[in-house]
Each structure stands twice: as C-alpha cells, then as structure tokens.
Symmetry: D5
Amino acid sequence: MDRKDATELILEAKRQEGLTFESIAEKVGRHKAWMTAALLGQHPMSAEDAEQVVDILGLDQEVTAVLQEIPMRGSLDTDVPVDPTIYRLHEVIQVYGTTIKALIHEEFGDGIMSAINFGLNVERVEDPEGDRVRITYEGKFLPFDWQF
Amino acid sequence: MDRKDATELILEAKRQEGLTFESIAEKVGRHKAWMTAALLGQHPMSAEDAEQVVDILGLDQEVTAVLQEIPMRGSLDTDVPVDPTIYRLHEVIQVYGTTIKALIHEEFGDGIMSAINFGLNVERVEDPEGDRVRITYEGKFLPFDWQF
Amino acid sequence: MDRKDATELILEAKRQEGLTFESIAEKVGRHKAWMTAALLGQHPMSAEDAEQVVDILGLDQEVTAVLQEIPMRGSLDTDVPVDPTIYRLHEVIQVYGTTIKALIHEEFGDGIMSAINFGLNVERVEDPEGDRVRITYEGKFLPFDWQF
Amino acid sequence: MDRKDATELILEAKRQEGLTFESIAEKVGRHKAWMTAALLGQHPMSAEDAEQVVDILGLDQEVTAVLQEIPMRGSLDTDVPVDPTIYRLHEVIQVYGTTIKALIHEEFGDGIMSAINFGLNVERVEDPEGDRVRITYEGKFLPFDWQF
Amino acid sequence: MDRKDATELILEAKRQEGLTFESIAEKVGRHKAWMTAALLGQHPMSAEDAEQVVDILGLDQEVTAVLQEIPMRGSLDTDVPVDPTIYRLHEVIQVYGTTIKALIHEEFGDGIMSAINFGLNVERVEDPEGDRVRITYEGKFLPFDWQF
Amino acid sequence: MDRKDATELILEAKRQEGLTFESIAEKVGRHKAWMTAALLGQHPMSAEDAEQVVDILGLDQEVTAVLQEIPMRGSLDTDVPVDPTIYRLHEVIQVYGTTIKALIHEEFGDGIMSAINFGLNVERVEDPEGDRVRITYEGKFLPFDWQF
Amino acid sequence: MDRKDATELILEAKRQEGLTFESIAEKVGRHKAWMTAALLGQHPMSAEDAEQVVDILGLDQEVTAVLQEIPMRGSLDTDVPVDPTIYRLHEVIQVYGTTIKALIHEEFGDGIMSAINFGLNVERVEDPEGDRVRITYEGKFLPFDWQF
Amino acid sequence: MDRKDATELILEAKRQEGLTFESIAEKVGRHKAWMTAALLGQHPMSAEDAEQVVDILGLDQEVTAVLQEIPMRGSLDTDVPVDPTIYRLHEVIQVYGTTIKALIHEEFGDGIMSAINFGLNVERVEDPEGDRVRITYEGKFLPFDWQF
Amino acid sequence: MDRKDATELILEAKRQEGLTFESIAEKVGRHKAWMTAALLGQHPMSAEDAEQVVDILGLDQEVTAVLQEIPMRGSLDTDVPVDPTIYRLHEVIQVYGTTIKALIHEEFGDGIMSAINFGLNVERVEDPEGDRVRITYEGKFLPFDWQF
Amino acid sequence: MDRKDATELILEAKRQEGLTFESIAEKVGRHKAWMTAALLGQHPMSAEDAEQVVDILGLDQEVTAVLQEIPMRGSLDTDVPVDPTIYRLHEVIQVYGTTIKALIHEEFGDGIMSAINFGLNVERVEDPEGDRVRITYEGKFLPFDWQF
C-alpha cells in the first residue's frame, strides 16, 4: 500500500460514511484546509491524527503508518489544470502573476511568499449580488538572503 | 505601437521618475493591484485613467489610445513560471489545488470562483516571527448552471 | 469505484441495452447535451436523476452515490485532440479565436462568455447541399469587474 | 511585407480611424465574423474587398496584394490559449468535447462538422438575469466516406 | 470490453490464424486499407462486416457490437511518431508541408484536401533499381466556403 | 543573407511578378513539386537552376550562391501544424499511420518508404461530385538491412 | 501476449539463466548488437532465430511467433533520455549534430546516412589513460534523389 | 557581438571565400570535426587558432576574442531535430539506445561513454552497392565511481 | 520482477521494519547517500550488499539478483519536479545555472563536473537562526579533451 | 534598456576589459557566486554595488538604475538545459532527486532547503587522480509549518 492507495481508500470511505472534509477536520481538531490536503495525500499526519482518521473512517490499521509518511507532493497530473474550478487559479497566475510579484517587491523588497511556512483558507463572503469565494494565501515573507 | 510597447515605455518612465505602482494608483484613485495589472498590460483603462497615467509618467499622447484597448491577456511566457516569487503561486496550485476545489465544493456546491468578477490584494501581516505576505483572491461564486 | 469506473459501466450498459444518450435524457427529463455530459462524467447528478439512470441502465446501486459526486472535470487526455470530430472544434479556436474575442469585445466590452453559466446544443440544419451541424454555445456575459 | 505586417498595419489604422470590425464589414458588405477573421489574417480577400479595405483604412496600395494571398492560418501562438476570453472556448472542448462528438454521431452517424464549409456568429441574447453571449458554429456535416 | 480490447483480440487471433489484413479484406469484400484501419480501431464496421470479421477470426460474439461503435480515433500515442516506418510520413510533412499547401492552392484555390471524404492506398511500383512504395492520398477538395 | 532571407525575397518577388510556382518550374524545366520545395528553402539548387530562378524573379546575384547551399530542412515551426490545409496531412498519420505501416510490411516485409529517394505530386482528379486532391508519395522501399 | 510482454519474459529468463546478450548472439550466430536490439524488441527474428532464442532461454513456444512479428519500434519512453548512459548520445547530437551534418554534406553532397541499411557496433579501445568506448554507426549514404 | 553573431559571420565569409570546413581545419592543423564544431560555435579556440581562422576568412579582429570564449553549447533549437540528416542520429537513439546501453554495460560494467573526453569522425566507406557513411564516436569509459 | 517492483518491496519492508536509510547504510557499511540512491533504484549493488539488504529487510531471495542489475536510471517522472523539496534543486539550476557554469570555467577552464565520478552529501549545519541544509556535490573535473 | 540589455553590455565590457567575475567580486567586496549571479541578471544590486560595477566596467550611468531593479529571475531558456556543464546539474536531480529528498526528511523531518535564504559556492578540491569540482548549496531548513 502506498499513499495513493491510502487516498483512494479514504475517499471511498468518506463517501460511504457521508462525511465532509470539514467534519473530519473538526473531529480531529485541525484546520479544515490542512486536513483536506492531508487526506488528499499532501501532508504527513502525526500518529495521533492518523489513528483518529483511520478510526473515524473505519479504515484498516495499515493505513495509519502510511498516513505518517512524508509524501511525494503534487496533487495534479498536469502543469496546466483542466478542471474549471482549479484552472481559475492558474488563470490568476497567468493574468496577475507579474502584478503580485511587483506588489510583493514594492511592499517587502526582494523575496518571496513562502509556500512552506504557509497556510490557506477558503471562505464564503456573503454578498447581495451573489456570494463570493475568498481564498487567502498567507506565507512568511522570505527575503533573498545570500548566506555563504 | 502595440500594448507590449506601451508596457515597456511605462516601465522605463516609471524607473526614471522613481515612482511606485502604488503611488500611481493613488494619484489616479484606483486599487493598487488593479492599477499594477493595468500598467503591466492586463486591463484596459478608461480614457480618463489613461490620460492621467500618460500625464504622470510623461509619456507620448499616442500611448493614451493604446491603453484603452482591451488587451490580449497573459503576463507570463510559460505555463510553469520560472521566477521564484511567481513560482510559489504555481506550487500552491500543484500542492493544494485539489484541496481548494474540495473546499469550494463543500461550502458552495458545484461551481467555481470567478476570475473575472474578481479582485485580489497583496498585504503585509505583521508577525514577531517574521512578517507574512497575505494574498487574497476574491471572486464571485458561479454555480454550474446549465441554461439551454 | 470512482467516477471513471462509473462511466465505463454506463457505456457498457448503454451498448448492451441499445440506448441512445438522447433517449436516456428524455426518460430522465433533462437536456440531451447536459445528460450526455453527465453520463460521460462531466457533471454531478441529483439523487433522483442518478437513481433513474441506474434504473434505466440496470446498474448496481453503488453507482448512484458515485454519480452524485462533483467530478474532476476534463474529458480529453490531451491539450490538442486527435480525434477528427473533436479536432475541428480545436481548429476553430486556432483559426477564429482572435475573431471571436474581437467580436465579443465589440458587442459587450471587456469580458468573457461564461463556460459555467452555460449550455450548448448540437442540431441538424437541413440543407439541400448537404445537412449542416449547428453547434451553439450560450453563456452569460461576464464583464471584467474588479471588486476589492 | 508579409501577412503579419499587413495585420499590424490594419490594427494600427483601425485604432487611429476609430473604426469597428463590424463597421468595416458593413461598408464592404461581408459578414462581420468573416471580415474580422480576414482582417486578422485568417482569410484571403478578393481584389475588390482588399481594395475597399485599403481605401477605408487609408493603407498603402502594397497591402492590397498581400491581403489577396492565401495565408498560413492560425491566430494563436499556443495550443492552450492563455487569454481568458479565448480560454473559455478551450475549456468547452475539454469538458464537452466528448459530449459534442457523441451527439454529432447520434444525430448524423460517423463523421464531422466541417470547419471549412463553415461559418460562425457571435450574438447578444438579452436576458433579465444578464445578457448572454451566443456563439454559433455551423458547418456542413461530412460523413466518413471512404473513396478509393 | 472497449474498442482497444477488441483490437488486441483481433491482432492476437490474426497471428494465431496466420492471416493477413489483405486476405481478411478480400474475404469481407472491402478495400484493404479501409479494412486494416477498421481492424486497427479507426473505423466502425457495419453489422455484416463485423459479423464476418468475428467469424473469420473466431472471436467472441461480444466483439461484434464493439466493432460497430464509432471509435475515438487516433492510432498513435504521440504527436511525433518514433517508429521509423511511420516517422517518414511525419518527415514528409515537415519538409514538404508548405510545398503541398502551395500546390493545392495554386491548383484549386483556397481550401483543403478532406481527410474524411477520403481514401488511401499503398502499392508496390516495380523498379529495376529497387521497388518503390507508392502511397496515395485522395480526398475531396473542400474550398473555404463561408456560410452564415 | 541566409536561406530564410532568400526565401522571403523569392516570395516577395513572386508576388510582384505575379508568377506561380508551376510556371517557374516549367521555365527552369523541373518538376513543380521539387521546384516549389526548393523555392521554399527545402532543397539546394544547381548553379544553373539558381541562376535561372534569380533571373526569372529579378533577384540580386547574391541570392544565387545562397540557393546552392544545402539547407537546414524543415518548413514548419511546430510538430503539429495549425494551418488546416497542412493539418489534414497530420491527421492522416494520426488516424492511418498504423494502417500504412501494416500495409507496407504486408507487401514488402520489414522496412520503410524512403523520404530521401523520393518524390511527390499533387494533382486534380476530376469528379462530378466535386474534384478531388490526389497527393502521391513515392519513395524507394528500403528493407531493414543490418550491415556490420 | 504482445512484443513488450515477450521482451519482459526474455529479460527475466536471461537473468535467471545468467546469460549475456553477446553469448546468446554467438549461439544463434548473429551480430551482438543486432541480437541485443532484437531481444529488446526492435527487430523481428526469422523463425529459426526465434526458435533458437526460445530454446536457449527456456521460454514458452508462444513467444516464437511473437518474435517474428515486425515490431512497433522505439525503445525509449521520452524524446530526451534521462538515463546518463543513453543521454550522452543525445548530448552528442545537441552539441555535434550540425557538425555531423556539415561533414556528411562536404564528403558526400546532399543526403543522409541511412538508419535502415545500417549497422552499429560498440567496442572497447584499450588506452593506458583509461579504456575508451567506441561506438560506430555505419549506414548507406542516400543522396536526396527526387524521383517522380 | 556574441558567439552566435560570430558564427554567422564565419558562415557568410566561408561561402564567399568558397572554402570547406575541412580545408580550414587543414590550414589550422586541427581535426576536421573539431574545427567544424568550433566554427559552428561549440568549442572555444586558442588564441592562435582564432587568429588563423580570422585571417583565413578575412574577418574583423573583434571576432578573435569572441572565438576564445567558452560558449553556451547546443547547436540545435529543438529536442527532436527536424532536418532529415540530423534526425537519423535521433532515430538511432530511439531504436538502439537501450541496445547501446546494454552493450556498454556488458563490456565495461556500470558507467558511460564520456561525451567530454571525446572525439568523433565522419568517413566514407567505399562499397560497390553504394558508399557508406561511417560515424565513429569515441569517448573515455567512465565507471560510476562514488566518491565522498 | 523488475527493479521498480524491487524498490516498492524495499520501501514497504522499510516502513514495516521502522528502519531509516541511514541505518541500513550503516549496517551494510556504505555511504548513506549512495545506499539511499541504490535502494531507490539508481545504482546496482554488489552481491554482498544485495544479500545484506535482503537480509536486513526480510525480502525474498529473488530480490538479490534484481538489485545487482544495472538499472535504467531516472528517479523522477517529469523534467520539472513538482514536489517542493525536489523543486528547489531545479530552481537553483534555473536561477544559478549560468553562474555555476561561469565559475567552473573561471576556475578550471572549459569542461564539466562529472556526475559519474561523483558523490554527494546532505548535512545539517547548525545555526542559531535556524539550522541549514548543506548539499554538497563533488565530481571530478573533466576538461573538454578532443581525442581522435 | 532592460535587465537583459544590461547583462549583454556587462558581458561585452567584461571581455574587452579582460576581467573575471571573481576579480569584479573582489573589487566590490561580495561573494564571487553572488556577484556572478547578479552580473548575469539574477539579483538586484545595492546602489553602491551598482555604481562600482558600472565604474569598473566603464558602462553608461543608465545601467546603474537598471542593476538596482529586482529582476524577473531565470537564467535559462529551457526546462532541460542543453549545455553539458549545466546539464550535469539536471542529471543529478533526475538520478538523485528522490535520494536528496529522503535524506533531508530523515535528518530534518518534513520540509525543504530554502533556495531564497541560500548561498552556493564552487570550489576546486585538489586530488592526485584529477582535481574535483565541489559545488555546495546551503539553505535554511524550512519545516512545513501550517499557519492559519
């Protein structure tokens, strides 16, 4: 069994149990976005979290060990996503990538937003003209800092 | 003169004048991210905005008309960006793309975050362990809605 | 069982039952193009629709739940389709893509045709010199509308 | 001077004259979509049409000959378009390509919609919930017809 | 069973029976190139042809229905073929593609050779300096013919 | 001046002189397809042919030497051609490539059709239902022949 | 069983029998490079050779027929090989490809080295500073020879 | 002036002087293949060689310095060469790459043929059935040798 | 069983035994980086090493022979790695590749760092501001040395 | 003038002045690798450093401002480098990428080596069997650290 097999088992069990990612996150006491990513194979879990997940979903104990391994990350098969919901994120980079780079540099100087010391959220913003999706990325600013 | 030529002239003049994107945005009275994108060739400007920009940067009047045209959008030359600051946004999609899709669907049902009825912001979040970059995407939720 | 497995079962059963996509659509009371897309794994079905489809095709009850899940969309394996019938749609974009963009902008201003609030149809247009295929895309116009 | 140079001259002159594609089409008496495509370098013009266009736009006589040549077609630089307005057409193929193929075959049998004996239109459909863009492709059905 | 499975069964049976594509074509009374393409999964067969093929090759009756389905066409896995025999056809396009386009346009005007109303042949041309392979493509000329 | 520059000069002069590829070929006494390929930069010319071409088209003498050089062959910019007239040749390989390979092997055994000891022709086949384009490739059969 | 399956069986048996490609070639009486290529699925074998190979490796008789089929050639999965030993051959083309082309043309005129009427060898050249690998390609010169 | 400019000047002068790569190599006293590669921008020259080359070709003294710089190597624009003469080398890797790897390993063990401590030659092998091109690669065998 | 199967068995057993790559390396007496690469399928092992590994991990004896074969190297599926930990190495080449080339040439002249006569290490550098990862590549300098 | 133009001017002047990257670095008082990267367009310089560089190389004052801008990073045109000296770095990732990932995780846990808080060095290691190139990457370990 590898991590991909584990993810498939998780998704199958989640459907049969009628659970949501958010409800699993709440039971385990983790942020819903982190937990969703972990369940989709993008983060290792601690032994306690893994045991709880296996318990909640009624999975085989073998899964517990697999969930604790540091995975080979990457949740998509292609550089350019085809699914419309995910493609919009790619479109934002194509259209606004140089804008975001320019604004990070104006505000912080030369460097990047870390995608490692990082978190993200997906929220509903109520709006009379139609609710809005707010996606927030927040990562530590890392200045280019030559050390040798 | 096409839009790409106009962008080059703008960047040259901006450097010579020692201006920031944010200061130009303030003078014209537009959001800094929208203005940066527009100056980088990703949005058409209204006649008034274009005239102000040409005025602020001391550009030739010919630029005014070019800035009002709806551009062929796309600010990057490649599908996978090479510049580290921009690459991190791509990395987020590769690692968290399926997570974001799952959370949008759990919260809103089947649909997407619009990248057209949309805005974004880049902010500093002060943090004693190192300030953080917060990038917020906010777009109208569009449910898949078959109409025929 | 994932959505791909479900699609294969549907196609196998459809062949054995000698049914058409249109006839299934009629029995369920949905537009033929929407139903075809849904059967090919591109749209989630409501519980009622899924039950009817499973019933009509004589499939296992397990399929019912799978058909209600929001799928990872994308019906092709490649960016450029190889099958001649599908390639012609790609050719139209290569030859007329900039034309369509120009005409949308002349008529509506800056924005896009939504592919989400959208429907399509495929019809026969009788013609003495040979009947014609009419493919109609119809999507809500979404103006670029910066909101932040 | 090649066709690409001619297209650039046309777009420059069109902006300076403040003309629309549709108004040029009307003056010459051709369909707006055909004329837009021709002006964007995708169709050869007859000598009369080319002379009229050169006249309307105040271009050099040398352009007249260039516009009559059969062009190397293809209006985009990439297989997957980046501009959001054009990308939506690509997205439709990715999501609905197999659907359209299935419906053409159900209605007509084995064959294709010609993209050569073909026309297209872009129209506004008024709608209280927001006007809609209707794009119609219409091409002769060509049955696979082995002749040897 | 899908069309790919059917092709594999056909090739396995053909080897065991020691048959050639040409001999199968003769028995069924179809052109050898059409029949080869159909056996390789590129054309649907009529019910009669499919039954004969299944009979000649001693295949399971289930294959009969599969062979009558309109396939997803495309016999190669890559854009640029690697096998030397097939690559030479690609090389001809790379070297002579613009030549063929120019000659079609000089002879017929603007348009294409149809690959749908089409047939091909592969023949031996005897030659004392070494026999030659003659490959003939013959397709209906389709003039670009704007209809809307 | 390199070969590409020479090709551009040739095409410019050909348009101004109102000549066809075929008429140039006839004047020089070469096959029209060979001459078209040579004028488009795919074959070196003999000194006599080059002088005649330069004479017919009224080009600078410097071109004569350039036309005699063995070119870096390849007339297209991409692996998959976008122009519809050229694309149909690619489509034939995608759909019928394995068919042609199978028929060459059945007729000749293991080997290829040479694309070097080779010629091609483009002809009109009159047909009451619409004239047809016949493209003939003819190359020496080269058996795989291990020599070491 | 297809040719790929046969190759896997051959490699498995070769390992278990502790044989080298060269020793198999010697037993069958063929050149070691040809035999290696044939065992790796790149050449069809005669009935006698196939029987001997099956005998030497103790394979099932079914393999005999598969080895006699003309294969779909191509031993690599990618255009640019990743394995360092094979990559060096690609590097030679990248660095010296234009050199080899220039020298073939200087010595022979316009044409190619055939890769069909061809053989190759891999040898050890003893050298006090470290033995050297000599790879020799030898193919018939084929002059570009237009025949139509 | 960069190395690419220098190469163009060299090729232009070589044509005007009517020189061959081999004759330049002889005058300078270097191997013809090395000299051809150096003239095509793939090797730096010593000061003496560069001066001689500049002298023989009648180039500007500025070229002397440029020829002595270590170049960014790579003589082709694409991974898969399109020119038929160069493509055959790529085809050999596709068909015989795993064969060459197997034979190097059988003869030398684990390692590679160096493409750095390396030379190559292109020769004519006279043959009554048609002369043959012999291309010899010879590089030092480098065993995988872990040193840390 | 091929090398890939062996790697999967190794990783499965390593997880069940709760071993680290480093501990296995120590038991066998090899450098931890070499051993990790070998366990991940990138180096052949000696008979003794293979037997020890099989023993330590409790694997089937069949694995012993597979581990001694020279593998087809390449541990990634793509040219551009997606996993963030591995991507950073790619980013270093994109940003600093020309820098490293320039410094190798300044220090050593024209040549390369061998990746065959090579070793690497991954170490922790303690640092009060956060420990650092030091990756050291060390390979023999190979001067470009033309030998023919 | 953009950053690319500045790099070209720098390289031209460096050649004419006969300077090395290291000597420029020493004069300015920066690490040689950082300075080389900055001169090759991969880092912004401080005003003082830029002035010194312009002074040392005798460049136009306009360059000073350009060198202070934060560049669009990326020193290569392709994902897979073709130049042999740079390719070896890519090969190391292909062969040892998963090894390095495994060792980072064993030593530090889940996270990455930063390529931003980072430095590198290129050194000569004297060795009687041939000097060795040592390339050291050193970057801060960044643990995956979810913060939201």
